[in-house]
Symmetry: C2
Subunit: 372 residues, 2 copies
């Protein structure tokens, strides 16, 4: 019987599930907001994911519902469960990817390493937090933020007054002194099996993931073990099913702190498409279908992924293929089929090889073809 | 501007172009005969590929037309060209993949190594050929054969009388004493660039490709060079664009003879999806779009592909996933989404690694999960 997976959200994460689904003979259906989104090839339904009545008929055509993003409201998820739909990751796990305050509270309760944090309902609390943390703090909206949106570094409580005026509590965090950012992706299936990719280094530019090096340089041993242990603990304790990405700070005093969680394939795992035996997209499908997970080893000593962001001068990516392909015949290009608005992630490239400097150079050179 | 490739034929070769097209942001459209074929996700038109009037409207929606099979009649191809459609490979090349007599004649004229052969219009000619070749010959219909169909080993001319009675000339070939069968895949773009994968060994069972080992054991050096030289010569002299697979006999006296040609991705190249930097499906799309070709190196020391054939007891492949995935987490499975009729190619598996014996064992063990 054909396995049927439904994805809510039609962005590039849903799109990149298509090749994995085609390979495994899985029928992938996508619920998108508008026509022409990145995953349009697999779109079967257009509608508003905030409307349970719109989502339910779609959900009834598949064996399991999963996600391209974390924004489906808990009320909609509850309605799906009530109607007997299988939803993975489940609402009770997804909650912690939707609400950063709940996430911080839960991880703290589990004894997992996180930055100092506080819930902020009013300016006075933020002023206190600032004075306790050297006069600087990161303030985040609890919900709705992504790619640097909903995040501010503040020095005075007044700098968050507009957000507080909206009436929702904020999350304040210490400004962590970190050496670098890492990300640990794992997959967990309902029966409990967990598979971990190696921890990677993630380089951000303007709050957006720009480059990923897999595995993270000098991570073998303790660092890799601790990162994996943290991600396993999150996956198990929160009951995550599917892919979980844990973004981490490696502090200047060599601790790992959990920054963010994503319960879906994640930008820091795109390298796995070309660089791991099992891509995060195939693994996510296996996991949400409760099938045994695939091997997660690296296919090369080093894989480097560089995002392609739309810029003012960027035309369609394929206009650049003649030069880019000719200069970099070994680099794998992933074009999300999106119109290249400035700053928008429109694709990525992955290079691989045995010499890290060379691989980084190659990946950056390839990405440059698409950005200038 | 989005690149648009149209594929005539909705089988697994068209299906396996979908992941490559998704990655590169190429809009792939498929012209299939019936609904529910292997490539159905990308099917935009249903119709008869023998009917130019049915194919033309489809062809006008794409930048280039290419093929899942070689059966599109020359009259239809001529009509496409006349209407200004770009067709790759072109009819003048495709002719030699469609008609084995023309192919043998052309390769002989080019001085390429082929088995002894003759055109047979009547029994007396076959009787003569038999007496000249030790009393045995391979007889093939000039057109329409595949996977062992349209091929017979005969000892008397009478054994081909039913085929001769159909009024079409036959091809008689010496029964080559071969050590093994090899296959050399290359890709050529209209501007002339050619890229070659390593020569592979192909193991047939009942006239159907069963297993492929890449690269062919003990092929480095002269054997690889000669195989590549033959395939390059065929591609250049016949003006092939897209992927060309040349099936070869390695004779007991260490010559290479051309057996068959296929001008499209070929079963002996399926290992490239997981085993080469550029898969034959991506390369075919690049080549027919006249884009620079991708690197064709091996990602592993050895890759072994084993076909999954439907058998009397075979249910849907995905029924076997729980056991198969659990036993072989590193093996890549490709499910063509076809109902498993006996003998029908319904999928393949690819294993890879540094120890050939182990890789062969692993690939066969994985395929066994789906066949018993």
């Amino acid at each position: 019987m054909t396995l049927r997976v439904g994805v809510i959200g039609g962005g590039q994460l849903a799109r990149m599930m298509i090749p994995a689904a085609v390979n495994l003979g899985i029928e992938l259906s996508v619920f998108a907001e508008t026509a022409g989104e990145s995953a349009s090839l697999a779109v079967t339904t257009l509608g508003d994911f905030r409307d349970a009545a719109a989502v339910l008929p779609f959900a009834r055509t598949v064996d399991v519902v999963t996600f391209d993003h974390e924004h489906v409201p808990q009320e909609v998820l509850a309605a799906l469960l009530e109607a007997g739909v299988t939803v993975r990751p489940g609402p009770e796990a997804l909650l912690y990817a939707q609400d950063k305050l709940l996430m911080r509270g839960r991880l703290s309760a589990l004894g997992l390493p996180v930055p100092d944090w506080a819930r902020i309902d009013e300016e006075a609390q933020l002023a206190q937090f600032l004075s306790d943390h050297g006069g600087r703090a990161v303030v985040k909206t609890a919900t709705g933020g992504y790619d640097g949106k909903g995040v501010r570094v503040v020095r005075t409580a007044a700098e968050a007054s507009d957000w507080l005026a909206l009436g929702h509590p904020l999350l304040a965090e210490e400004l962590v002194e970190f050496r670098r950012e890492l990300a640990q992706s794992v997959a967990r299936r309902p029966s409990g099996e967990i598979a971990c990719w190696p921890v990677v280094e993630s380089i951000q530019r303007d709050g957006v993931c720009s480059e990923v090096i897999a595995p993270a340089p000098s991570s073998r041993g303790r660092l890799a073990d601790v990162a994996e242990e943290i991600a396993r603990s999150v996956a198990e304790n929160l009951g995550v099913t599917g892919v979980l990405a844990v973004e981490l700070f490696e502090t200047t005093d060599e601790r790992l702190l959990v920054n963010e969680l994503a319960m879906r394939p994640h930008n820091t795992g795109h390298w796995t498409i070309d660089g791991s035996t099992t891509s995060q997209f195939e693994q996510h499908l296996r996991a949400v279908l409760d099938l045994p997970l695939g091997a997660t080893g690296c296919r090369d000593e080093w894989s480097v992924m560089v995002n392609i962001l739309g810029g003012p001068a960027t035309g369609d990516l394929d206009d650049r293929y003649p030069h880019a392909f000719s200069d970099e015949p070994s680099v794998k290009v992933h074009n999300y089929g999106k119109s290249p608005r400035p700053g928008r992630k429109v694709g990525h490239v992955t290079a691989a090889g045995a010499d890290l400097d060379e691989v980084v150079f190659q990946a950056r050179a390839a990405a440059e073809h698409y950005q200038n």
